[in-house]
């Protein structure tokens, strides 16, 4: 009764009634992020489909009567033996401890996210002009940077090997720029940055730092023609390396893998000699003589460059994965990998360990 009395007082007190109106106005002045609403809904729908698939997988498990278990056990022993052989045969490629990055905001392109060289962080660009550096051990450890205040959208990100800088690509109408961002700061503010290159009438994409951080390779597209270029990060020097796209530096820095006409190729930068590897895209290196790339049907392949002719072997895809792999992005020691999957409506990402 006393409470109702208070409420009646609220209603009839003109100051309180004004206050309630002002609170309503204050509420209305807080904007809702409708872009996030749409993006997050797509992410939730994708997660729901994933959960349904996992649920369906669990339902397949049946209870086996004890008298049938013996037969299964014999078969199991044989399979175990075989799997051990398989494990040792392809021990370099077994991917384990895969963990989906469900907490990521919607990422529109595989270039917008990159695994740190030490495999402990990821960087991604979101909402057009924000750069996030997030720990994989503790997802609450996150640094945010406002990217240079321009009118463009940020499309691609790449870590320097010392992890002190990142390269980001900005598209603004007809102009594309590559910025170098200082990643050694605390975040929460405008990132300190330096413009590496700006060019009207072209599109830059897929930046990749050389192992010594002195060069950045990138795709330069004019119309439908794509070229791989290399820019110095310490001088104004730049040069075209090959026709193609998606460059990736070899661990020694002596070669660049890239894609041209649907074929993964490797160029020796000293001699200019080109070695064609196989059909695929998004090459990355496991060592100076071993390349990983994605095949057109969404599988992973490894090319052993030291063998003549080049040997291509298919890599096992992590269990339970039905979506096509778009790209893998490996840490410097090749023990951690960021995997991008294309599902029906959106991209999904996970990190895994190589055993």
């Amino acid at each position: 009764m006393k409470d109702d009395k208070h409420l009646r007082e609220e209603m009839h007190d003109s100051t309180i009634s004004d206050l309630l109106q002002h609170l309503t106005q204050l509420r209305q002045k807080v904007p809702v992020n409708y872009q996030l609403k749409a993006d997050l809904k797509a992410q939730l729908l994708e997660r729901m489909r994933e959960m349904e698939r996992m649920q369906a997988g669990r339902q397949v498990v049946k209870v086996v009567p004890w008298w049938r278990k013996k037969r299964w056990m014999a078969g199991g022993a044989i399979l175990l033996g075989l799997s051990f052989s398989l494990f040792f045969w392809c021990r370099h490629f077994v991917i384990s401890q895969e963990e989906a990055l469900n907490w990521l905001p919607p990422i529109q392109a595989v270039e917008q996210i990159a695994l740190a060289p030490n495999g402990e962080q990821i960087a991604y660009v979101a909402d057009g002009a924000r750069l996030f550096l997030r720990s994989l051990q503790d997802e609450k450890e996150i640094l945010r940077f406002q990217l240079p205040a321009t009118k463009g959208d940020y499309q691609a990100v790449s870590w320097a090997n010392r992890m002190d800088r990142l390269a980001v690509v900005e598209e603004s109408g007809d102009i594309t720029r590559i910025w170098l961002i200082n990643a050694s700061e605390e975040g929460g503010h405008q990132a300190s940055s330096r413009l590496l290159i700006e060019e009207p009438g072209t599109k830059f994409s897929t930046p990749d730092w050389s192992p010594d951080n002195r060069l950045i390779a990138y795709t330069r597209r004019k119309g439908t023609h794509e070229e791989v270029w290399v820019n110095s990060t310490v001088s104004l020097e730049k040069r075209k390396v090959a026709d193609g796209s998606q460059p990736a530096w070899s661990p020694s820095g002596a070669g660049l893998a890239y894609v041209h006409d649907g074929m993964v190729s490797v160029i020796d930068l000293a001699s200019g000699q080109v070695q064609e590897v196989g059909a695929g895209k998004w090459p990355d290196w496991l060592s100076d003589d071993r390349l990983v790339f994605t095949t057109s049907n969404g599988n992973l392949a490894e090319a052993r460059l030291h063998e003549k002719p080049v040997q291509i072997v298919s890599l096992p895809i992590p269990s339970g994965v039905q979506d096509k792999i778009v790209r893998t992005n490996w840490s410097s020691n090749q023990e951690d990998v960021l995997i991008a999957y294309q599902s029906v409506h959106s991209l999904a990402f996970s990190v895994a360990k190589r055993r």
């Binding site: 006393k2 409470d3 208070h6 409420l7 007082e9 609220e10 209603m11 007190d13 100051t15 309180i16 009634s17 004004d18 206050l19 309630l20 109106q21 002002h22 609170l23 309503t24 106005q25 204050l26 509420r27 209305q28 002045k29 807080v30 904007p31 809702v32 992020n33 409708y34 996030l36 609403k37 997050l40 809904k41 992410q43 939730l44 729908l45 997660r47 729901m48 959960m51 469900n102 907490w103 905001p105 924000r130 609450k140 996150i142 945010r144 929460g188 503010h189």
Partner: protein, 193 residues
């Protein structure tokens, strides 16, 4: 409960059904569509920094989806989702207590798409003043007022979210409004135009 006077947002809330059957028939995505705005707005008001608020909103709905099978549906969805949102906010504040908050100046720069200019009775300065005064209230009072007026929750839903009794929430709400009234009357009163 008769609290809809001069409060458009509560008229809207009061029309929402509370019956168990209503929530049983709704899918997660339907509930998401309906509640996103309220949760996002609540967190954006409380966290001030819209980046953090949007991250928290994402966390809240991802967590809600993971735990949706635990939602009993005997209670309104609003209480359940706002309990997750409020706990996420409390965790955020605890974790960021030592870190200076970077405040967004959203009141000046951004406008709600649903906002009608002719309804803009208060200036941005006056609204900022009101926001400052809300910050002078106790934690409990801020929790109750923001859940009521920014989360659009009813008294009994606020009570469920905060784990308090309804009468306690009513009392806190009453005292908070009285406190605000004193601040208005004692300080540079916000004039109506």
């Amino acid at each position: 409960m008769g609290m809809a006077i001069k409060r458009g947002m509560h008229e809207e809330v009061d029309t929402l059904p509370e019956k168990k059957e209503y929530y049983e028939s709704r899918s997660f995505t339907e509930l998401y569509d309906e509640y996103f705005d309220r949760v996002n707005r609540y967190l954006r008001y409380r966290v001030h920094n819209s980046w953090d608020a949007d991250d928290l909103t994402t966390t809240v709905f991802l967590k809600a989806l993971e735990k949706f099978d635990q939602y009993s549906r005997t209670n309104p969805f609003a209480s359940w989702i706002f309990r997750i949102a409020h706990n996420a906010f409390v965790d955020f504040v605890r974790k960021n207590r030592e870190i200076p908050v970077e405040h967004d100046d959203y009141l000046a720069d951004e406008t709600d798409e649903t906002w009608q200019p002719e309804q803009q009775v208060l200036t941005n300065e006056e609204i900022a003043l009101l926001r400052d005064r809300l910050e002078l209230l106790t934690q409990d009072q801020r929790d109750v007022l923001t859940l009521r007026y920014f989360g659009d929750l009813k008294i009994h839903q606020v009570a469920e979210v905060l784990g308090k009794t309804e009468s306690s929430v009513k009392m806190i709400s009453y005292r908070a409004l009285q406190q605000l009234k004193k601040l208005y009357e004692g300080g540079d009163r916000i004039e109506r135009r």
